[in-house]
C-alpha cells in the first residue's frame, strides 16, 4: 500500500484550536491558584509537544515545561495583553530551549536564507488532514525539516498562531516567519511527492 498516495493529504477548513477561549488570565494575575491550574492544564501538552519536537529528549522537555511555568508565574506582570497569554507562554518556552542549547554549547536555531515568496493566502493548519496510516510518515517528514522551519510549522500546527505571534515567539521578523512557513509546507509536500 502506498502511504503517500495523493489521497494521503486532504485539504479542508476546520478550526484547529478553540476560538474565543476565555482563559482566566485576569484571575491568575490576582493570584488565584485555580486560575493558574486551568491555564497550565490548557497549555501543558501543546507546550510539551512543541518543546519535545525541538529538543527530542523527554526529560529535557519536562524540565523546560516546568521552568516555563515557574517563569510565567514570576513574570506575568510583564504580559500586557491577556489575550496573548498563549503566545507569551510559548515565547518563554522557546527562550528556554535556546538557553538549553547554549548550555550544551550549541548555537541557537540557525538562520536560514530563503528566497522571495509568491503571493499566497494564509492557510489554516487544519487544511491538512492526514490518514491514520500516514501518521508515522508525517512525523518522520516533520523531523526531517530544518529546525527553523520545523519550529514555525509546529507553532502553526499546534496552536494556529498568527504570523505576528510566531514572529514574537521565535524573535524573528514576520517576513522570515512567512517564508519559513511557506518553505516548510512546500518541503512537506515535496517530501511527500518524493516518497511516493
Amino acid at each position: 500500500m502506498n502511504l503517500f498516495s495523493p489521497r494521503a493529504f486532504h485539504w479542508m477548513k476546520m478550526p484547529a484550536v478553540a476560538a474565543n477561549e476565555h482563559l482566566p488570565v485576569h484571575q491568575a494575575r490576582e493570584g488565584i491558584p485555580e486560575a493558574w491550574d486551568t491555564l497550565f492544564r490548557r497549555y501543558q501538552l501543546p507546550l510539551y509537544v512543541y518543546v519535545f519536537e525541538l529538543v527530542h529528549h523527554e526529560q529535557t522537555s519536562l524540565d523546560v515545561v516546568q521552568e516555563t511555568f515557574i517563569a510565567a508565574v514570576r513574570h506575568l506582570g510583564s504580559l500586557r495583553d491577556n489575550a496573548k497569554f498563549g503566545s507569551w507562554l510559548f515565547g518563554i518556552a522557546h527562550q528556554k530551549c535556546i538557553q538549553h542549547w547554549r548550555r550544551q554549547g550549541r548555537e541557537e536555531i540557525p538562520s536560514d536564507e530563503l528566497g522571495e515568496l509568491p503571493d499566497e493566502p494564509e492557510n489554516s493548519p487544519d487544511e491538512l488532514l492526514i490518514q491514520s496510516e500516514q501518521e508515522a510518515e508525517f512525523m518522520n517528514l516533520l523531523n526531517r525539516l530544518p529546525l527553523p522551519q520545523r519550529s514555525v510549522l509546529l507553532l502553526h500546527f499546534v496552536e494556529d498562531f498568527s504570523l505576528e505571534e510566531i514572529a514574537r515567539i521565535t524573535g524573528t521578523p514576520v517576513g522570515t516567519v512567512k517564508s519559513r512557513l511557506y518553505y516548510a509546507k512546500a518541503a512537506l509536500r515535496e517530501l511527500v511527492k518524493g516518497e511516493t
Partner: protein, 146 residues
C-alpha cells in the same frame, strides 16, 4: 483523518501524568504572596527585565560581534585618551618650585612694567562743573567788561 495537531498531541498523551505532576507541583508552591498582582516596583522591575531581555535578544545578541568590536574601539579610545592625559598631569605635579632668582626677576619685570604703563588705578574722573544757564543779559555784561 486527523489534523497535524491531533497527531502531534496524540503522540505525547502518555506523558500527561508527568505533566500533571509538574503542574500540580508548580501550582502547589504558589501562595498568594507570590502570585498576587505585584505592586508598582515589582511591575516596573519585571517590565524593565522584560525590556532588557528583548533589547538583548533583538538588538545586541544578533549583532554581538559588531557590538563587541565597537566596545573594543571605545576601550582603545579611552586607553589612548588616558595615556595622553596622565603624563601632563605628572609633569605638572613634578615641576620644581621656582628659584628665588626667578622670583626676583619676575618681580623686577612687574615693577618695570608698572613704571612704563603707570599706576594701575584709574584716575578719578574730575566731576564736571555744573553748568548753570545764565541770562543772556549777564553774558553780554561779561563780554563788555572783558
Amino acid at each position: 483523518m486527523k489534523t497535524p495537531r491531533d497527531i502531534l498531541l496524540a503522540r505525547h498523551r502518555a506523558v500527561e501524568p508527568k505533566l500533571d505532576a509538574i503542574r500540580q507541583a508548580v501550582v502547589g508552591k504558589l501562595n498568594n504572596e507570590e502570585t498576587k498582582e505585584p505592586g508598582f516596583p515589582a511591575v516596573f522591575v519585571s517590565w524593565f527585565l522584560g525590556c532588557s531581555e528583548n533589547l538583548w535578544r533583538e538588538l545586541i545578541f544578533p549583532s554581538r560581534r559588531i557590538w563587541a568590536g565597537l566596545a573594543a574601539v571605545w576601550i582603545v579610545i579611552f586607553i589612548v585618551n588616558f595615556s595622553q592625559r596622565d603624563p601632563e598631569r605628572l609633569m605638572a605635579r613634578k615641576l620644581p618650585p621656582p628659584s628665588p632668582e626667578a622670583i626676583q626677576a619676575w618681580q623686577q619685570q612687574q615693577r618695570l612694567l608698572a613704571e612704563l604703563i603707570g599706576p594701575n588705578e584709574p584716575r578719578a574722573a574730575q566731576p564736571s562743573k555744573p553748568h548753570a544757564p545764565r541770562p543772556s543779559g549777564e553774558r553780554s555784561l561779561l563780554i563788555m567788561s572783558a
